[in-house]
């Protein structure tokens, strides 16, 4: 889904059996009329030809006057059916619509009309536009006119890789390593605060609870329960063919989820379009979004003291 590369899926339209029948009848009627001079026969031939012409032109005119908008949810995952909201504007009886990348099934709607179609996500990434095809053969079924549009969505959709089942080994993480935990890339917070205690020299500044310190008039720091003492740093290098990269991201997603499920801290080092990023992931959704944004290229460096698990796309070239 939402593949940005173009795929030849359809031409501008197809003639149907009805068109063949009408064209043949029209030609036969006029030819027969030329032999018999029978105006009725000529009239039937003209009737068939006019139906053919109208059936050819009408769908083209209809589709030229129809526009479509697509609204997608903010998140999805490869393998999920993502509900896409389709808004079709214009004025006609009906059209059929489908989303490409990959070509999905056709759905019909009255026009104007708003409805939702489930569409299977097949590729990870962040997508802000989608290719949509509209078609109609109304009213006579002579010609199936197909029009393709590249529709920019109001909000992009992030398709996370599917989490491939994987086991994660959690390593103890020292306080020094935790102190070097870079600012999370996503929303801050997440640890449960058990209590506060007076500040002692050596406490990381990030543990200072400023509100309580202000109230008490002395510095206090947060005490976490349980302390984040286990985890790993996932280094994901997607350099290589796209398919291998997707496999690697899927594997990394499975490992990261396993680590999070085991109560570990996960530090994810990737390369995004803007540059290398190394940040702690907060939850499975954050993990999916980070991996969705990951692109091929050298990942960020991991701070010292973090046990690393490196996932390389090139290692997945021979994975069945």
């Amino acid at each position: 889904m939402f593949r940005t590369s173009s795929t030849a899926v359809h031409g501008p339209g197809d003639f149907t059996l009805t068109s063949v029948v009408l064209f043949t009848l029209g030609a036969y009627g006029i030819a027969a009329g030329s032999v018999t001079s029978d105006q009725t026969v000529v009239a039937i031939g003209v009737f068939a030809f006019v139906l053919f012409a109208i059936g050819l032109v009408w769908p083209i005119v209809i589709l030229a006057r129809v526009s479509v908008e697509v609204v997608a949810p903010s998140d999805g995952a490869v393998g999920d059916e993502v509900p896409l909201r389709i808004i079709v504007r214009g004025r006609t009886d009906r059209v059929e619509v489908r989303v490409l990348d990959p070509p999905g099934r056709w759905w019909r709607t009255a026009v104007p009309g708003v409805g939702t179609m489930p569409h299977l996500a097949t590729r990870r990434g962040v997508f802000d536009e989608v290719r949509v095809q509209l078609r109609t053969s109304a009213p006579l079924g002579v010609f199936v006119r197909v029009r393709q549009a590249r529709v920019r969505m109001p909000e992009p959709i992030t398709i996370a890789p599917s989490a491939r089942p994987a086991a994660a080994v959690l390593y103890p993480i020292g306080d020094e390593a935790l102190m070097t935990d870079p600012v999370p890339a996503s929303v801050a917070g997440g640890d449960t605060v058990r209590a506060v205690r007076p500040y002692v020299p050596g406490d990381p500044a990030r543990l200072v609870h400023w509100a309580t310190s202000a109230r008490l008039g002395e510095l206090v720091v947060r005490e976490h329960d349980p302390p984040a003492a286990q985890g790993l740093a996932l280094v994901v290098d997607l350099s290589g063919p796209d398919e291998w990269g997707d496999e690697a991201a899927s594997y990394a997603a499975g490992m990261g989820r396993a680590a999070l499920a085991g109560g570990g801290v996960v530090l994810l080092a990737t390369r995004e379009r803007e540059g290398p990023v190394c940040a702690r992931v907060l939850d499975a959704r954050d993990l999916g979004r980070r991996l969705a944004r990951a692109v091929a290229g050298p990942p960020a460096d991991v701070p010292a003291g973090w046990p690393q698990r490196v996932v390389r796309a090139l290692d997945f070239g021979t994975v069945p």
């Binding site: 059996l17 009329g33 030329s34 018999t36 029978d38 026969v41 006019v50 009255a110 006579l140």
Partner: protein, 601 residues
């Protein structure tokens, strides 16, 4: 997700397709019945049943393809059988509309097999969609047909064709009205069928004359005083006919072309509206001195020839004035001699025409007498052997068919010195609305009288039925010709219909919205607010909105609650979210208090 239904199951869209297909094929069945020689009901049942079975009972085959194919087969049948001579134009139009609707419904049914977007509005009802499409497309088809069909037919169509070579069987089985004869025996009763003998493409109806006879033997047979014929010379496909030198109309009259399409298997006569002057054909023709023509070896089925005729199209006044011109002697000698008739026949002629001043009036008087004193019947008793058929008809039976009636007119006219002769051929026939041709059947065979007027020529009179003079005949042909003649009216009406059909939904929706707005709470509340204002001497200005007006009134009356009322009306009318029921109730209470009347529900 739309569940797939068996085409025949209740709720399946293919049922509607089946109904339309049955109508379409049924019309084709009705069209083909006469040619196939089976009862129309049987043909309709067979064709309709086949259509229903094909659409509904072939689940292993694509229903769409099956439907389109069966409609295509029906169209081939229409092409084959709608062709003259067995056509019924109304059936052809019905077939076309049914086919059009069926095609729309096929496409619609196919679309319905696609799942609908979840939460999307339902499609318009099938009937509504099919009707709108049929009206719009039907209008376009009608306009284009009017524009191109006559031109195409004229440009592409053949105006002359030799036709098939008739066999001996064709000759033997051909109707007598299509065979050349030396005499006309009136002692036999004609046996006429409904079979089409030929069709004629002509701008106006006329008698299609084949032969004329001028010698009455006084018993029951007509013959010719000059039965000779000559082979006519042809140049560039045109054969000039032998013209009667005294038939002025044949020389100076207005031209009318007629193209004859022979449907019968054999004909020896060249039919034409009087008076024929030339024939476009590759056939070898023979001509008689009376101006009629024929083909010695005969014409076969499919033969096409075009005849040019000339006629002065005289009015009654012109014919009355013709008496001022002297009658040419040869005409008097050949056509005005007193016939072999009984004394009482001659006496009757004298008595009928005694008060008539002109030849024309005398003929009219005789026609009137025949109309008043005789009756037409193909079942009239045959005259006894050896008895003067005319005398027997006029004085004894007074019951006869066209031959007796027309012969009586000729004999009575000649009895008072009016040159007349008997013509045989066919009446114009019924005009086919689509094809624009006159369809002439065997039972359209006819005999009528031709009377000579000096300075005008031969003019036909039909004492059997009231037939208008050629000059009074209508000139419109097929529906296409009529539409072309009335193209402005046609376009206006059509445009009106299309506009009405196109605009009707919008107009109805707009009217409904207007009614809804008028009956909406803010509209009613504003009316009550205005009433409060009028009572206080401050009506609402045209540019004032409810809120603004309410503030003005609140200041004037000194009741600040009106400001809130105005705000509620504004919000309810113009904000997308509307207002709560509580706010409306509060505003209603304030207005009721100020108007002294509770709110009408």
């Amino acid at each position: 997700m739309t569940p797939k239904l068996h085409p025949a199951r209740p709720g399946s869209p293919w049922r509607a397709v089946a109904i339309a297909a049955v109508s379409s094929l049924g019309a084709v069945g009705a069209l083909s019945a006469p040619r196939l020689g089976i009862p129309a009901v049987v043909a309709v049942a067979i064709a309709g049943g086949a259509a229903a079975l094909t659409v509904l009972c072939l689940p292993s085959f694509s229903t769409r393809r099956a439907s389109v194919l069966v409609l295509g087969v029906g169209a081939l049948g229409a092409l084959r059988h709608a062709a003259l001579p067995s056509s019924d134009s109304h059936l052809v139009v019905f077939w076309a509309m049914a086919t059009l609707v069926a095609l729309v419904l096929v496409d619609r049914a196919d679309a319905e097999s696609t799942p609908a977007l979840v939460g999307a509005p339902p499609l318009a009802p099938r009937v509504s969609e099919a009707a709108r499409a049929a009206v719009a497309i039907g209008a376009v088809v009608a306009m284009l047909s009017v524009a191109v069909v006559p031109t195409l037919t004229r440009e592409l169509g053949r105006q002359e064709w030799l036709g098939k070579i008739p066999t001996l069987g064709d000759v033997q089985n051909s109707p007598g009205s299509l065979r050349a004869s030396h005499e006309l025996d009136m002692t036999n009763r004609p046996r006429l069928t409904d079979t089409v003998v030929f069709t004629v493409d002509a701008e106006r109806p006329d008698f299609w004359r084949g032969e004329v006879f001028d010698v009455w033997n006084g018993v029951g047979t007509w013959s010719r005083s000059d039965d000779s014929y000559v082979t006519l010379a042809r140049s560039d496909g045109t054969v000039p006919l032998v013209l009667d030198p005294y038939d002025v109309g044949a020389q100076r009259g207005e031209e009318m072309q007629q193209t004859f399409y022979l449907e019968s298997r054999f004909s020896q006569l060249i039919f034409a509206a009087p008076s024929a002057v030339e024939v476009n054909t590759d056939l070898v023709l023979v001509g008689r001195p009376d101006g009629t023509a024929g083909v010695l070896r005969g014409l076969g089925q499919g033969a096409v020839y075009t005849v040019t005729s000339k006629n002065l199209k005289p009015t009654a006044d012109v014919l009355r004035a013709a008496d001022a011109t002297p009658l040419p002697a040869p005409v008097r000698t050949r056509y005005a001699q007193v016939p072999l008739a009984s004394e009482r026949v001659r006496a009757l002629a004298e008595s009928i025409t005694r008060d008539a001043a002109t030849t024309y009036d005398k003929i009219r008087a005789i026609e009137a007498w025949l109309g008043a004193n005789t009756e037409y019947s193909l079942d009239a008793p045959l005259s006894p052997k050896g008895v003067d058929v005319v005398d027997h008809f006029l004085f004894d039976s007074r019951l006869g068919w066209c031959e007796q009636v027309a012969s009586s007119l000729v004999v009575l006219a000649r009895s008072v010195g009016i040159p007349a002769r008997l013509a045989t051929g066919f009446v114009p026939g019924e005009r086919d609305g689509l094809a624009g041709r006159f369809v002439v059947r065997e039972n359209d065979a006819h005999a009528w009288t031709e009377v000579f007027f000096p300075g005008v020529g031969w003019q036909g009179f039909d004492p059997t039925a009231s037939v208008p003079l050629a000059g009074d005949a209508p000139t419109n042909g097929s529906w296409f010709d009529w539409a072309r003649d009335h193209v402005a009216t046609f376009a206006l009406v059509l445009g009106g219909i299309v506009l009405a059909v196109g605009a009707a939904p919008d107009l109805i929706a707009r009217a409904r919205r207007r009614v809804r707005r008028r009956n909406s709470w803010p509209a009613r509340a504003l009316v009550r607010l205005e009433k409060v204002g009028r009572a206080s001497g401050r009506p609402r200005q045209p540019a004032e909105g409810p809120g603004e007006y309410a503030r003005v009134l609140a200041a004037g009356i000194g009741d600040e609650r009106l400001v809130a009322v105005g705000a509620v009306i504004d919000r309810d009318a113009f904000s997308g979210s509307g207002t709560s029921e509580d706010a409306r109730a509060h505003a209603d209470a304030v207005l009721s208090e100020l108007t002294g009347r509770p709110r009408r529900e």
